[in-house]
């Protein structure tokens, strides 16, 4: 494997792995704070057990998120030294603020996990909220850094040098808001559906019904609201890209030729040689409307982008279709939940109903990974859009393939262990938190 390809694969693998855990760190604290709040208000022991059961899961994920994040801060330099040498001082601002956010998160987590029955209960609850808010803040900050790679700002590029650096302007680049908004919603949607799915499975198995039903409800309300807002925010992102990164938009939509009232393609297999898209459903004018809010508008196609600046079309297009398709399914499921909640509670006990949510467990994560593929692969061949090419940024050290192999082995084994541990946690729920019986035991802190 060529070094550049190995480095790209390693980066993609590490980020794709980290994002899963990062989302858990951003979202689960809010779920826990909700059940914790309900417990404190009503004294419902299920809610307390739920908070504890979730927090044990989160501790496992949190450490995996932390170590994979630590690896990333080194990998940026290990794999892309040339990029970091120039970009570090420019887009470093969010990272240095993120350091603070992480710290606060870590400190608050120390209080939260180890503080049961040791502090004032509302102080303890509040530390949980702090974990969530600072996790969210760090997510938004890194995404702002990534947005800078898509939409560079805050410097002048003169004779190959990056001068007049302004880190604040770099952080508030044009893309930071749309990307952070979309990412935050994605995190809530993905985790909401995943958690709801797991508890739905438990309900199907008729285990601890009350416990799992309460868990399901908290998760699906968060996830459902996010999934309803997601397409709106996605549309904002798409309009933004049409302005800023026409090459990415063209690749996403497999739009080979510049045209007015461009059609939106649903599905389809782009053929990069013939510049045709096979098997696609075309909706006339819809792409023009989505990108520019006007059915007649001209949409730039790949023919206007120099060959050497074109991103890979096949991957970007498929990833985009996957994200949008899954987003639609999740939106429909959210509507189903809210409808059943208000109109037809009966459905909620039906097997088909629960099965739908069980099947939806991984959808948010798949959409999330697909969305990042769109963003990152769609930016190629640039690492800093329009300024530095990925191939010029890669480390001079040979043999990156071996490091890629090592990382793959590490991530694969970590995934196995984490899944295994989570499986054991979930299996242990009925014994640790048996309903009614043994409530005393469940009450004592570990």
């Amino acid at each position: 494997m060529e070094d550049l390809l190995a480095a790209r694969s390693q980066m993609a693998l590490s980020l794709g792995f980290h994002i899963i855990f990062a989302c858990i760190g951003m979202v689960m604290p809010f779920f826990m704070a909700t059940s914790h709040y309900k417990y404190l208000k009503t004294g419902d022991l299920h809610q307390k057990n739920l908070t504890k059961a979730w927090s044990k899961g989160v501790a496992i994920f949190f450490v995996t998120g932390a170590v994979s994040g630590t690896m990333l801060s080194f990998e940026l330099g290990l794999l892309w030294p040339e990029f970091m040498e120039h970009a570090g001082p420019i887009f470093g601002m969010p990272f240095s603020l993120e350091g603070t956010a992480f710290f606060i998160e870590a400190i608050a987590l120390g209080f939260f996990l180890y503080g049961w029955d040791k502090f004032n209960k509302w102080f303890h609850w509040f530390t949980g909220i702090v974990v969530g808010v600072s996790g969210l803040a760090s997510g938004i900050l890194v995404v702002a850094a990534n947005a800078w790679m898509n939409s560079p700002a805050g410097f002048d590029y003169v004779d190959g040098k990056y001068i007049n650096i302004d880190p604040v302007a770099a952080m508030f680049n044009d893309a930071w808001f749309t990307q952070s908004l979309h990412m935050t919603l994605a995190a809530f949607a993905a985790i909401g559906f995943a958690v709801a799915g797991i508890h739905a499975l438990m309900l199907l198995k008729n285990k601890n019904k009350q416990f799992h039903w309460k868990a399901f409800k908290i998760a699906i309300v968060y996830g459902g609201i996010a999934a309803l807002l997601q397409p709106l925010s996605g549309d904002l992102s798409a309009k933004d890209i049409a302005e800023r990164q026409p090459a990415k938009l063209a690749a996403m939509e497999a739009h080979f030729e510049t045209s007015k009232s461009a059609p939106l393609l649903i599905g389809g297999l782009p053929n990069e040689d013939t510049k045709e898209v096979d098997y696609a459903i075309k909706i006339p004018g819809a792409l023009s409307f989505l990108a520019h809010g006007d059915f007649e508008a001209e949409v730039i196609g790949l023919d206007q982008i120099p060959e050497e600046d074109q991103p890979p079309v096949l991957i970007t297009h498929i990833a985009f279709q996957v994200m949008v398709g899954l987003g639609m399914i999740m939106m429909a499921l959210s509507l189903l939940y809210f409808f059943s909640h208000w109109k037809n509670k009966n459905w909620q006990t039906k097997r088909w109903y629960l099965w739908l949510f069980v099947l939806a467990t991984p959808l948010g994560f798949i959409a999330l990974e697909a969305g990042w593929t769109v963003t990152e692969v769609g930016r190629q061949p640039w690492i800093i859009n329009g300024f530095m090419r990925t191939k010029d940024a890669v480390t001079p050290m040979p043999g990156i393939f071996y490091s890629f192999l090592i990382f793959t082995a590490v991530y694969v084994s970590l995934s196995f262990i984490v899944t295994f541990l989570l499986y054991r946690q979930i299996k242990a729920v009925p014994t640790t938190y048996e309903e009614g019986k043994d409530q005393k035991k469940a009450l004592t802190p570990q």
Binding site: V63, S73, F74
Partner: protein, 336 residues
């Protein structure tokens, strides 16, 4: 502002060595603890280190962020030429962090525990070893930015006596710090005695390893020893560190928790301080002499200014809450 950033950088490195070091050291101590006491020792380690574990490794991340934002050339040169030891250190960090949490949170306690323990103890050894190797390579003067072969570019910079001896030195420092720390936390007599014994053994090991570092420096032609001793300032610092050894041994026998910790921390800080002072402002000694210093590689202007502000503002939030975290768990432990 450059000085604010430099102070934070030094502070982050020092705190990582002290707090993170005690954390790594727990694994090293576990490695040399008699098997029958290990279970109890793990419980103590978990209770004392668990709540602050996350915060400890943040110092490393802060260090990295300060480097890539404020001193990008330093960060790049390190990541290119010390790629291999950095990678190995990372593997150690992953191994110990995950094993530490997994073994506690695994809902079923079975044979998996053995595996977690093995990973935890060995990666606790590997991480500080390579951390020290990296630190040693920075002053060994073998990093060659014009290297033409794989060996001279990516192996030679760290694979020689001096960095490796610094690595071993770091391992013993971490073990020593952990033993001193855990000693104060153990309520059980037998365990306490075991930790005290280990603190002594590891202290001796540290002194010996320190001697080896100087020897290795001589072999590699690094005039570290002579220069540290001839500069009156660093000489005084080193003498203070040595003198405090006597105090340390005295208090180790007397079972004084706070004093022993302070002295141990003082010793390690003094060693780092002497070496840091000796090289300041140089950060990486390059082959051929074009050293990278904290002055010549700083991203002057707005990047340093905003970084300084970010650190100051962060410090206002972080330091009080960290102190409160440590304080409240200490108090809770002594109450229970």
């Amino acid at each position: 502002m450059l000085y604010v950033v430099i102070i934070f950088l030094c502070l982050a490195i020092l705190l990582y060595l002290l707090l993170g070091g005690a954390d790594f050291g727990a694994g090293i101590v576990e490695l040399i603890t008699p098997v029958k006491l290990r279970e109890k020792m793990r419980t103590i380690a978990y209770e004392t280190i668990g709540p602050i574990w996350e915060a400890n490794h943040m110092w490393l991340i802060i260090t990295i962020v300060i480097l890539f934002v404020g001193f990008p050339t330093i960060y790049t040169v390190l990541s290119v030429h010390l790629h291999i030891p950095l990678l190995l250190m990372l593997l150690g960090i992953i191994g110990r962090g995950t094993a530490f949490i997994f073994r506690h949170y695994d809902a079923v306690k079975d044979d998996m525990q053995r595996i977690y323990n093995i990973i935890f103890t060995y990666s606790s050894f590997i991480t500080p070893l390579f951390l020290g190797i990296i630190a040693g390579s920075m002053i060994a003067g073998e990093i060659d930015t014009n290297a033409t072969t794989f060996y001279s570019g990516y192996i030679q910079p760290w694979f020689n006596y001096f960095p490796i001896s610094v690595g071993l030195f770091t391992v013993s420092i971490c073990g020593f710090l952990a033993a001193v720390f855990l000693m104060g936390e153990a309520a059980d007599k037998e365990i306490k005695a075991a930790f005290t014994r280990q603190a002594k053994v590891l202290n001796i090991a540290t002194v010996i390893a320190g001697g080896i570092v100087f020897l290795a420096a001589e072999i590699e032609g690094i005039s570290l020893m002579r220069e540290l001793v001839t500069n009156p300032f660093t000489l005084v610092i080193l003498l203070l560190a040595t003198a405090s050894l006597v105090l340390l041994w005295y208090f180790l026998g007397k079972n004084k928790k706070v004093l022993t910790r302070l002295i141990a921390g003082f010793q390690i800080s003094m060693i780092l301080f002497a070496v840091g002072l000796h090289y300041f402002p140089d950060f990486i000694i390059l082959k051929g002499g074009n050293n990278l210093s904290l002055y010549n590689s700083a991203a002057m202007g707005k990047p340093i200014i905003t970084l300084g502000w970010a650190l100051l503002i962060g410090g206002v939030f972080i330091i009080p809450s960290l102190v409160y975290l440590i304080y409240s768990f200490q108090r809770n432990r002594s109450v229970s």
